[in-house]
């Protein structure tokens, strides 16, 4: 969601000018051992949230990053993508279907209210109820009784989820419809946050003045489109107590403007610098520039609902196209290192990544590529049209990939940029694609399950290809029913390999990087696989 894109080339021209003047800049200004002010606040790049701050209705980054700081759920992920308990003392299960949750005692909400088992159960019941129209309600789908509380049509037949039972002040049980091996991981979603009683009295007012149980609490009013201030919550009981005084989320319309603020220390942390600055930001920021892989990928997919593409021999064509793409070179040159060549769907930084899921089909080999395309009877319509949304950072790679397909695969290829993400999505979800289209995934949680199940299961919500393979579905069901996460990861990796090597409904292209930077005022800035700073660890210099 960016503004006038015609402006980027000027930024580019200025970038050139900047390089000339910034030689030798960014040397010693990142002294990571400066004296720290534990009450100092820092500003964080964000966009105005689209919705009021209610965890079950926040599904975009603007509100999401604020929710992440105001609320703490049962579990979350550490820097290394490992699951850890937060508000929960234990979550026990023997069959991945019934979970016994025990909460840590003594936790409080920002208004002083104690956090109990009902804080969670009531919040979930409210959010799942169709009457309350929550955008994230479908996350409760695995829980028993969801279909009664949230029927596809008509009024709910029950007020509460049958699968949730409060057993004592700090304990409750969750029963699922069927075993889900990664349910514990899924509990990390914002939608599973607890809510205080104050919420139900006036949900509208709560959206403006949210009250959570997290390390930060709201400070003053939400200044719409300008900033959202938070301060350290003194009664926070979690292990990750803030090393700073608060995060101020500063809202920008254009990331170019934010970047200029970052360079002149008016903005402290930006988790993604503008694409036009990718080749430039390391010069501007020196040691304060960060390039790190996160849990997101970029692929191109095919409409398997089109008769031509559904033919079994077209697998060879897709694999041939894949081999015509020189991912390494594109990543290094056209993308200036802002993405890495992919060797599967699951990014390296995600738990469950095994490496080499794509095998030889992601290796660049023009001869074999042409051979495979020919063996598969060529591309339907003798032409690839690659659809993508032009309001994201897609033009560079889309052009390069198309170029490779043309040059190395011998197949005519044109790109079809749609002006906005929304328009591209409408065409994709209404199944109007005739040829290749961009399909990207940013993790909901850092586990292989999320990358495979959400997109490649039959009728999965984000399965834009209408890919369906019984054997793959069975493998995933088996993985979901497995006792340990290790076993599940292995089965999912097997499913991933099977999908790519036998069907290749989408061509794995890249693992995405976050290109981040921070100002001279802060230190100890680290990023996780969600490409967000470890907010509580940031230190503000005196």
């Amino acid at each position: 969601m960016r503004g006038a894109k015609s402006a980027t080339w000027v930024a580019g021209a200025i970038a050139v000018a900047l390089t000339a003047t910034a030689c030798g800049g960014g040397g010693n200004d990142s002294d990571d051992n400066a004296a720290v002010n534990p009450d100092g606040t820092y500003t964080y790049y964000n966009v105005e949230p689209q919705n009021p701050i209610i965890p079950s209705n926040t599904n975009e980054v603007g509100g999401g990053y604020i929710v992440k700081n105001l609320f703490r759920g049962l579990v979350d992920f550490d820097e290394k993508s490992k699951l850890r308990l937060v508000a929960a003392e234990s979550i026990d299960t023997t069959d991945n279907q019934t979970f016994k949750v025990k909460l840590k005692p003594g936790w409080k909400f920002h208004n002083g209210e104690a956090q109990t088992a009902s804080s969670f159960v009531d919040a979930w019941n409210w959010a799942a109820n169709a009457k309350n129209k929550q955008l994230n309600a479908s996350w409760f789908e695995p829980i028993k009784g969801y279909d009664e509380v949230h029927p596809a049509e008509g009024d709910p037949k029950a007020e509460k989820l049958e699968g949730l039972k409060v057993t004592s002040d700090l304990e409750f049980t969750i029963e699922l419809k069927k075993p889900v091996s990664t349910f514990k991981e899924q509990l990390f979603y914002d939608v599973f946050s607890p809510l205080p009683k104050a919420f139900y009295k006036d949900t509208k007012a709560f959206g403006e003045h949210p009250i959570g149980n997290g390390p930060y609490q709201q400070d003053g009013d939400w200044q719409h489109k300008v900033e959202f201030k938070t301060k350290k919550f003194a009664d926070y009981k979690g292990d990750d107590k803030p090393k700073n005084g608060g995060v101020v989320f500063k809202f920008y319309n254009k990331d170019d403007a934010a970047y200029n603020d970052l360079v002149s220390d008016k903005l402290d942390i930006m988790y993604q610098v503008p694409n036009s600055m990718a080749g430039q930001y390391q010069n501007d920021l020196g040691k304060r520039a960060i390039s790190q892989m996160f849990g997101g990928n970029t692929n191109i997919s095919f409409p398997l609902y089109e008769a031509e593409w559904a033919k079994p021999e077209k697998v060879k064509v897709r694999q041939g196209l894949s081999m015509a793409i020189d991912r390494e070179t594109i990543a290094k040159t056209a993308l200036k290192g802002s993405k890495d060549a992919a060797d599967g769907y699951t990014p390296k930084v995600v738990e469950g990544y095994q490496g080499g899921a794509c095998g030889e089909f992601c290796k660049f080999d023009p001869a074999k590529a042409k051979e495979l395309i020919k063996a598969g009877g060529g591309v339907p319509g003798n032409k690839i049209t690659l659809t993508y949304n032009a309001d994201g950072a897609n033009k560079e790679w889309a052009d390069a990939v198309c170029n490779d397909i043309r040059q190395n695969g011998g197949v005519e290829c044109v790109t079809d940029p749609k002006p906005t993400f929304q328009q591209a999505r409408a065409d994709i979800t209404e199944r109007r694609m005739k040829s290749a289209f961009r399909m990207a995934w940013v993790q909901d949680f850092p586990n292989i399950q999320n990358f495979i199940s959400a997109q490649y299961r039959t009728k999965a919500g984000a399965n834009d290809m209408e890919f369906s393979d019984k054997a793959v579905d069975e493998l995933m069901d088996k993985a979901d029913a497995s006792k340990t996460i290790e076993e599940s990861n292995k089965l999912y990796a097997e499913a991933e390999k099977k999908i790519i090597q036998e069907q290749m409904p989408s061509i794995p292209l890249f693992f995405d990087h976050t290109l981040a930077g921070y100002s001279k005022k802060v230190q100890n800035v680290k990023f996780d696989s969600f490409r967000q700073a470890i907010w509580t660890d940031v230190e503000v210099k005196k």
């Binding site: 129209k133 955008l135 309600a137 479908s138 596809a152 049509e153 403007a257 008016k266």
Partner: protein, 308 residues
Amino acid sequence: MGRFVARRLLQMIPVFIGTTLLIFLMVYSLPGDPIKSLFGPKAADPATVARLRHEYGLDKSLLEQYWNYISGLFQGDFGQSFTGRPVADLMSEAFPVTIRLALLAFGFEVIVGIALGVLTGMRRGKFLDQFVLVLTLLVISVPVFVIGYVTQFLLGLKWKVITPTVQDSENLGQLMIPAIVLAALSLAYVIRLTRTTVGENLRADYIRTAVAKGLPRKRVVGVHLMRNSLIPVVTFLGTDLGLLMGGAIVTEGIFNIQGVGFTLFKAIQTSEGPTVVGIVTVLVLVYLLTSLLVDLLYAVLDPRIRYA
């Protein structure tokens, strides 16, 4: 005069209804489903979609939706944006910022534009005239966003005279540079327009008469020359005020000013009917009122023009 104003005000009613209906139809025909896109890349759950559609009245026919909107409008209700906030709130945040910026730019345009225009018009062919001509040519030929980015780069990043973006939209000092950037193009036109009419009128008979009568130069220029020369300039300035308010999106983006332009842009992107119609309606009213004001100003400037 009174009848003229009354007639003009009455004319606003059909214009108002026409524009709102037109905008409503246009937003309605934008591609993409606004409710489904609230769900982002995830599949929208049909039960929630149906309920949200009902809440925002999108399940009704287009004319019914328009009727509900208009009748709400007459009760002072601008409707609700898809984010759950009243459109009136969105507008009351955005308009003050934009009005401040537009007025600053407008003031700059009027004062500097007319002053330079008169000066150069009276000294045609001299150094100042040539210099200003070249300068305005430069401004007219360079797009606003280039001026904006270059100003931001030089003043904000290189010389550090200003902060690169506006940190506090109530601080007029910080709004100064964005206002100048915003005004730059129109300023150039105002200068050129004033210069030309001043130059023409200088040779007019009535000026020669005034000078021959032995009137002081101050009076010749200040009253006789200016009043007649300003009519085309006022016309331009009148329409420009509306443009400054709605068309500041590029400047707003560069300097991160949270004004009307970007609010409107975002609302169009998300097909948010009530917000788009609300903002455009207010902008249309601003246009109508300024053009009325311009017409009234004609009578003040030129006594020969009378309205019945």
